[in-house]
């Protein structure tokens, strides 16, 4: 009985060491079964040490040692497989052999056997794809129990004289079997806990980070402003559980939520020097609340005691900060600190992307406006002149022309529409052509045949009409005898080509690879929408033909 207690005591020392070691990074790789040599070596060294330690902590009994060496050997086998198990057991065994005594050989053999038993279990469970069972303390308990019983038999068989061995075994068998089994199980349990804690920590971290990312996605795309910032701080506040969260731009608070929101008001200028420093230096500032406390610059009674200020950047430029606060009674958790940096990065890239999108949008809007500006005044006044001539001869026809002119300008005024159906664009073209046909009388002939299947396909607005206008303005109107404009479609497996063709062949590209501004914008809008294959193609045969075309790709 006394022996059991002292062995258990010994085991406790052993476990404390195990616990302490489990805190070091050395232990983490053990929890992932891997065949890498490095891992195996690591396993061998650690458990050989435990094995040797077990022998040293042992108690001298009758020229033998009652010990907890078995834990190291079995565990080595369980984690490292049969070869590592053998090596650990053999190392521990040789060490024991050098200490002498009548059981030296028996102990060496039995320790090696225990390592191999652990290893065999390892192989067995891996093969059965039940490797999680390796970390199960009761499995470890059973296998150690079994290994210790085997050890006792080996002692009886190998150690001479038999009588002395028998006396020894009957004294140490029970204590050693119990102590080693429990010890191994507890050892595994410690590692298991460690693993659980670690996984939980990672899982919590990932979950929170993912939550924030998912909830905040796209918010800042529509601009870095108070409204969007308020939504972001709410999300960060809820997910991190810090005392308070704020977002500022470079001179004022955009949003604030949490402790102290009675005096930290949005839309007030930044009062904290630290924030201004963070903006200016483009650097993270951390006021940890201990040697470096946060003191609210607005109210002395502010409960906030520590702050983390991280700049938000659009590219290289600081556009603001995100600030996390904790109250005086609480300190920042490291998880929130590293999370905050991640959040700042996430927001920064959103801001940048938002800026980019904004610019894209502005660009295409300004391009549409440019196209409007290009509505040829010459066309307008000539149209009016034509109509005033027609009024005299045929008032009904004049009224009709005015309708077409209105239609033309009305669709020109739909400024913000990015895409229209081909049908609508053709109606726009038609209104334009009706006026031009009246104006040029017999000098302009138009032939239009666009496949009816294409009518509902979307095209960027203001793409077809400029092509037709171009064909007249820079084509047919230069022909003394008049000319013809053809607008037609041609479909193949790739898609449908829309072609605008005149027989003047007088379109001059101002420079090589440089279309006129109007045509350039049309081309860009087409390729933005349809991809690179959709860009405008120009084919000119001098004095014969000018053909401009683009492809509407097949619907996927």
């Amino acid at each position: 009985m006394e022996l059991i207690l002292s062995l258990l005591q010994q085991m406790c020392v052993y476990l404390v060491l195990a616990y302490m070691l489990s805190k070091t990074p050395v232990f983490l790789p053990l929890l992932n079964i891997s065949n890498r040599l490095e891992n195996k070596l690591n396993c061998y060294v650690i458990f050989s040490l435990f094995c040797i330690m077990g022998t040293y902590f042992g108690l001298q009994i009758n020229d033998a040692i009652a010990n907890t060496r078995a834990i190291g050997a079995v565990m080595g086998g369980i984690f490292g497989g049969p070869i590592v198990g053998f090596a650990v057991g053999f190392t521990g065994g040789i060490h024991r052999y050098t200490l002498g005594g009548f059981t030296d050989i028996a102990c060496a053999i039995s320790t090696t056997a225990e390592g191999v038993i652990g290893g065999v279990l390892h192989s067995y469970l891996i093969k059965r794809n039940k490797q999680e069972q390796l970390f199960n303390p009761s499995v470890v308990f059973s296998i150690t129990l079994f290994a210790e019983i085997i050890q006792m038999f080996i002692l009886l068989i190998v150690a001479k004289p038999f009588d002395q061995a028998y006396t020894l075994v009957s004294a140490i068998a029970a204590p050693m079997i119990i102590a080693n089994s429990i010890g191994a199980a507890l050892f595994m349990s410690i590692l298991q806990d460690r693993k659980t804690i670690f996984e939980k920590y990672s899982a919590t971290f990932s979950r929170r980070a993912l939550n924030i990312a998912e909830r905040s996605v796209g918010i800042l795309n529509s601009g870095f402003n108070s409204k969007n910032a308020a939504r972001i701080v709410r999300i960060v506040y809820e997910e991190t559980n810090v005392g308070a969260v704020a977002i500022t731009d470079t001179n004022k608070i955009l949003a604030f939520v949490g402790i102290g929101d009675d005096h930290h008001k949005p839309d007030t200028p930044i009062s904290s020097q630290c924030t201004l420093d963070a903006i200016e230096k483009n650097d993270i500032i951390y006021l940890n609340g201990k040697d470096n406390p946060y003191q609210c610059s607005i109210s002395e009674n502010c409960k906030l005691g520590s702050a983390l200020i991280i700049p938000l950047r659009a590219g290289d430029k600081v556009v603001g900060t995100i600030k996390l606060y904790e109250p005086k009674r609480k300190l920042f958790s490291t998880i929130n600190m590293s999370m905050a940096e991640g959040i700042a990065q996430l927001l920064s890239s959103q801001i940048l992307y938002g800026d980019y999108q904004q610019q894209q949008m502005l660009l295409s809007q300004s391009e549409i406006k440019l196209l409007h500006a290009q509505v040829n005044p010459h066309f307008l006044f000539n149209a009016l002149n034509t109509i005033s001539a027609v009024i005299r001869k045929n008032p009904d026809k004049a009224r009709e022309l005015i309708q077409h002119l209105s239609h033309f300008f009305r669709s020109n005024l739909k400024q913000n529409i990015e895409t229209v159906s081909l049908k609508e664009e053709l109606a726009h073209v038609n209104a334009y052509l009706t006026i031009e046909k009246a104006r040029f009388s017999d000098r302009l002939e138009v032939e239009m045949s666009i496949s009816s299947e294409l009518q509902d396909r979307k095209v960027p607005s203001f793409t077809l009409q400029p092509l037709v206008e171009n064909a007249i303005k820079h084509g047919v109107s230069h022909m003394l005898e008049g000319g013809k404009v053809k607008i037609y479609s041609q479909c193949n497996d790739m898609g449908c080509e829309i072609i605008v063709e005149d027989n003047a062949g007088s379109y001059l590209e101002p420079r090589k690879d440089h279309k006129g501004l109007g045509m350039q914008i049309v081309s860009k809008r087409l390729s933005n929408y349809f991809g690179r294959d959709g860009e405008l193609k120009t084919h000119v045969e001098k004095d014969q033909i000018t053909r401009m075309s683009f492809i509407i790709p097949n619907e996927k």
Partner: protein
């Protein structure tokens, strides 16, 4: 009653203007032309008192047409345009009369009033040469049933005979409505004979003949006579002493 020619490439625009002019009772529109070349021909043939000239027309603009008219027989000109910032600026700068489409009746009446005064020498006629391009890059010609625009550098020589002025290029002879005088003033063609202008860049050789006469052979082997009167100045221009 003043006689007028309306030159505009749009039929309805011509009709409209002719109708409006008719209503003023002071102008008689004797004909219309649908482009500058036809216009030039009709100006030469009909000698109208005034032309109403559209600016944007195919191939040859109204302004270019001005350069093709003989200043001695130039009619009065009223420009008509729908929208042409640069031309309008030029008209404003030089106080030339112009009409904007659609044409306002009151404005037209003012113009007509002024034309009548000019015609009666009550006020001075404007000198339009300032507006006309100093040189012609191309010469409109009328061939058999077609109109050609010949770049001046492609002309080998120009000559006049009883049927008018003709232009010889590498591969054809075409008739022009421009006078030799206008061609001499507005192009690089040099006078070498009373009835001939030569493109100095097209000269292959000059054969000196008896009596101070000469003959030019052009790069396409066309002979061009050189009269005694012009040989000296031709030599000087070519740098041959």
């Amino acid at each position: 009653m003043l006689t007028a020619l309306v030159i505009d490439d749009e039929q309805l625009a011509r009709e409209e203007l002719a109708n409006l002019l008719h209503d003023t009772n002071n102008i008689e529109v004797i004909d219309q032309a649908s482009n500058a070349i036809e216009g030039l021909k009709k100006i030469n043939a009909l000698k109208p008192d005034v032309i109403f000239l559209d600016i944007q027309m195919p191939q040859i603009s109204g302004i270019e047409l001005l350069a093709m008219l003989d200043p001695d027989t130039m009619p009065m000109v009223v420009f008509v345009t729908a929208f042409d910032q640069y031309a309008i600026q030029a008209f404003e700068d030089n106080a030339f009369d112009y009409l904007l489409k659609p044409i306002e009746i009151k404005r037209l009446e003012k113009t007509v009033c002024r034309l009548v005064k000019q015609h009666n020498k009550q006020i001075e006629t404007q000198d339009l040469s300032i507006l006309a391009p100093a040189s012609l890059e191309q010469v409109p010609c009328i061939g058999l049933n077609r109109i050609m625009i010949i770049p001046t550098r492609d002309i080998e020589y120009a000559f006049s005979d009883i049927s008018g002025v003709h232009i010889r290029s590498a591969d054809q002879i075409a008739s022009s409505q421009l006078t030799l005088k206008v061609l001499e003033e507005k192009t690089d063609l040099l006078r070498c004979h009373r009835q001939y202008l030569i493109n100095t860049k097209a000269i292959k050789e000059i054969k000196l003949l008896e009596n101070g006469l000469a003959e030019i052979i052009t790069r396409n082997d066309y002979p061009v006579p050189v009269s005694r009167r012009y040989l000296k100045s031709l030599k000087e221009k070519l740098g041959i002493v």
